[in-house]
């Protein structure tokens, strides 16, 4: 958390295409929920200037029956630090996220998602390292339950001139119900050898033994699932730079689980 930073609230979605420019140290908060217009497709372009420190919180919580497609593009300037905190809680949506790192820039991308009921969540992320000495750490955690479907495709693309690039992608998904489906593709495309790149993906669940253990501590199955969901979200929420949005997400989560 960065003390005394300017807080910028992005307006609710009004137009199909938006350009957001961040040119000073700040905490940016963007929410897409019932206050935003019901577009089936919309595009967001975000440009982060050079030499600044930005923390960007993005909450996607639109709950409409028809699917939504967001095309989102983020460009990081030179020597700039961007910390993303993306929380996906809505219903049916597809997000194409493209992030581009300039030289010496640093991206810390944290994602948490919960796909429940009959919802369909699809995220395709392309992270381009086009210039030298950029660094990116991507931590994606998700939970799928009920009859939901989640697909997360995240590729790290390191260009030939992006020497000394540093990229790490960690994906973890927990499947809580027999009918839920998960598809994960952590792709790594590297065109230079002066690079440090790795990725990992893990899919797990609550096993019978683990459930029995929690039961033996007085926690029933539903509570056990909630506990798991809350724990995953807690580690994400603890990183948020703004109390207000943190409380908002906590309340939304509580609502979803009850």
């Amino acid at each position: 958390m960065i003390a005394n930073k300017k807080i910028i609230y992005i307006e609710p979605l009004k137009n199909k295409k938006r350009n957001i420019v961040v040119d000073e140290d700040s905490v940016v908060i963007e929410v897409i929920d019932e206050d935003s217009k019901d577009f089936d497709k919309f595009k967001t372009n975000i440009s982060i200037a050079d030499n600044i420190n930005v923390e960007y919180v993005y909450l996607f919580n639109k709950n409409i029956t028809s699917p939504i497609i967001e095309d989102r593009e983020i460009k990081l300037g030179i020597n700039t630090r961007l910390k993303n905190y993306y929380c996906y809680l809505g219903s049916n949506f597809t997000v194409t996220l493209k992030q581009q790192l300039d030289s010496h820039s640093e991206l810390d991308h944290n994602v948490v998602f919960l796909a429940d009921q009959k919802n369909n969540l699809n995220i395709q992320a392309k992270n381009n390292f086009l210039y030298p000495k950029a660094k990116g750490v991507f931590t994606i955690q998700g939970i799928v339950k009920d009859q939901a479907r989640a697909g997360y495709y995240s590729s790290i693309i390191i260009d030939q001139i992006a020497k000394d690039a540093n990229a790490k992608l960690e994906m973890s998904a927990i499947n809580l119900s027999k009918e839920a489906k998960i598809s994960l593709v952590p792709a790594l495309k590297v065109a230079t050898n002066q690079v440090n790149a790795s990725h990992s993906a893990r899919i797990s669940n609550l096993s019978k033994k683990q459930l029995f253990y929690l039961n033996s501590r007085g926690i029933d199955k539903i509570q056990a699932q909630e506990l798991l969901i809350q724990s995953v979200f807690q580690s994400f929420l603890d990183k948020l730079p703004n109390e207000e949005i943190k409380n908002k997400i906590e309340a939304l989560l509580k609502n979803k689980l009850s």
Binding site: S155, L188, N193, S200, I203
Partner: protein, 464 residues
């Protein structure tokens, strides 16, 4: 640098003159397909299968993903030629110039003690088979496919192209129409073959396509290891290899399929390999891919029975101008199945090495466990490596772990070895050998040696 090139040329760059090429015309027509079937005296069902496949081939589009195949002109390829009519049963009966070629590639030594039998394919006809007596007595059938079709028609009609059907994609359809030769291996119930069986073949004539079919049936409780390796000389016209390997591993059986593929720089290697694994059975794929212009190779294990397991160990080396698009596919249809994939890729001089993997867990498969480990070593700045693992998990009780790394040889490691007196080249070779060791240690010695030698030659140009 030139010395290495010369050595490689000497090994692979020569070709025997091919007097038989006048017999067949290029391109693919119904007439040619009928000709192929007639010359082999095939039963009618096989001819029909070929014709049906030809129809599919004509109507199917080229794959719309993967490397660029636009330079592959399917009309310029010769689809069949019979170089030799007889099958030699003894090494001394094999014609001299063919022997010379095999000699250079080390076949006779390999045959001597360690191996049970060698099937060598010259062009599209198998000319040499030798099966050791003891296994023949046990009921093991190690035969070339054309002969097997005549001798064991029931087995063939039961299994042929059932694991890899013609309609899978354009190149399996092509294969279904023009397949010729290959290995038929049948291991009866409870039989354990401890020495590896091997077949060695190569392409020779300009623009010759190769469509051999390997059909392996391992009955319950049996165990065997089969090695396939190949090489082809350099030619200007694109050579196409659209072979097929089908492996059936029955209950409690265990089978290992090893292959070291080193095709010529202008070849297109578009093989389809698939194993169907039954209850508590196990398949192990151990492979090394070198050479060729374009390789697309994704051995696929279908884990059909409860508790079945698959192990995929692979190495791909892409040098300048080469694309190795390889990977592994495992489809978990049954519960308690497990798979382990270890892929190592090396790229150099602008070579592109891709790992494309698929693990698919069906909704009914409970308690599946999967582990995938891919590492890419980029030897210089121009190389390229992609890792695209797809995980489709439709069952909540599954545990899937995937890890991958990409990078270069650590300067620190190099410096350390050099400080112990190794030249830069020797140090790099040592490190690369260490990188691929998990795979080479699973291959029989002469293959491991050959593989290490090939890599040395590939790297010899010097790094950077």
């Amino acid at each position: 640098m030139s010395k290495a090139k010369d050595t490689k040329e000497k090994l692979w760059g020569n070709a025997n003159p091919a007097p038989y090429m006048q017999a067949t015309s290029r391109g693919l027509t119904k007439k040619i397909v009928k000709q192929i079937s007639a010359s082999k005296h095939e039963p009618n069902w096989m001819l029909q299968h070929r014709l049906d496949s030809l129809e599919l081939f004509k109507n199917m589009p080229m794959p719309n993903w993967g490397p660029d195949l636009s330079k592959l002109d399917l009309d310029k390829i010769t689809y069949f030629a019979q170089a030799h009519d007889q099958q030699a049963t003894d090494w001394k009966d094999v014609p001299k110039d063919i022997k010379n070629t095999f000699d250079k590639l080390g076949i006779p030594q390999a045959e001597q003690k360690a191996l049970a039998g060698v099937g060598a394919q010259y062009e599209s006809t198998v000319i040499y088979h030798n099966l050791k007596q003891q296994w023949q007595d046990q009921g093991v059938i190690f035969e070339d496919m054309d002969v097997a079709l005549q001798k064991y028609p029931e087995l063939m009609s039961e299994y042929f192209m059932k694991a890899v059907p013609s309609h899978l994609h354009k190149f399996t359809a092509l294969h279904g129409a023009v397949w010729s030769g290959g290995t038929f291996l049948y291991v009866p119930k409870g039989v354990n073959i401890d020495l590896p069986l091997q077949a060695y073949f190569r392409m020779n004539a300009k623009g010759m396509g190769q469509f051999e079919h390997t059909l392996i049936i391992v009955e319950e409780d049996a165990q065997a290891h089969y090695i396939e390796g190949c090489s082809a000389p350099r030619y200007g016209v694109d050579s196409l290899h659209a072979g097929c390997v089908e492996i059936y591993v029955k209950k409690n059986a265990r089978f290992r399929y090893s292959s070291v593929e080193s095709w010529s720089k202008d070849a297109y290697n578009l093989n389809t390999k698939r194993a169907i694994v039954e209850e508590n059975a196990r398949i192990e794929w151990v492979g090394g891919n070198f050479g060729s212009n374009v390789t697309m190779l994704y051995p696929c294990s279908v884990l059909k029975g409860l508790g079945a397991s698959a192990d995929h160990l692979g190495l791909a080396f892409a040098n300048s101008g080469q694309i190795q698009d390889a990977g592994a596919k495992v489809i978990h249809l049954a519960s308690q199945t497990s798979s382990n994939i270890v892929m190592k890729s090396i790229s150099k001089g602008g070579g592109v090495s891709l790992y494309r993997g698929l693990v698919d867990i069906s909704a009914k498969a409970d308690n599946v466990s999967i582990s995938v480990n891919c590492d890419a070593l980029l030897l210089d700045d121009n190389s390229h490596s992609d890792t695209i693992p797809v995980m489709k998990i439709n069952n909540a009780t599954a545990t899937v772990v995937h890890e991958a790394r990409a990078g270069k040889i650590s300067a620190k490691d190099l410096f350390y070895l050099q400080s112990r007196g190794l030249s830069e080249e020797e140090a790099i070779n040592m490190i690369v050998n260490g990188f691929i060791e998990p795979i080479t240690r699973e291959l029989p010695l002469e293959y491991a040696v050959e593989m290490n030698r090939m890599i040395e030659l590939e790297i010899e140009g010097g790094i950077g």
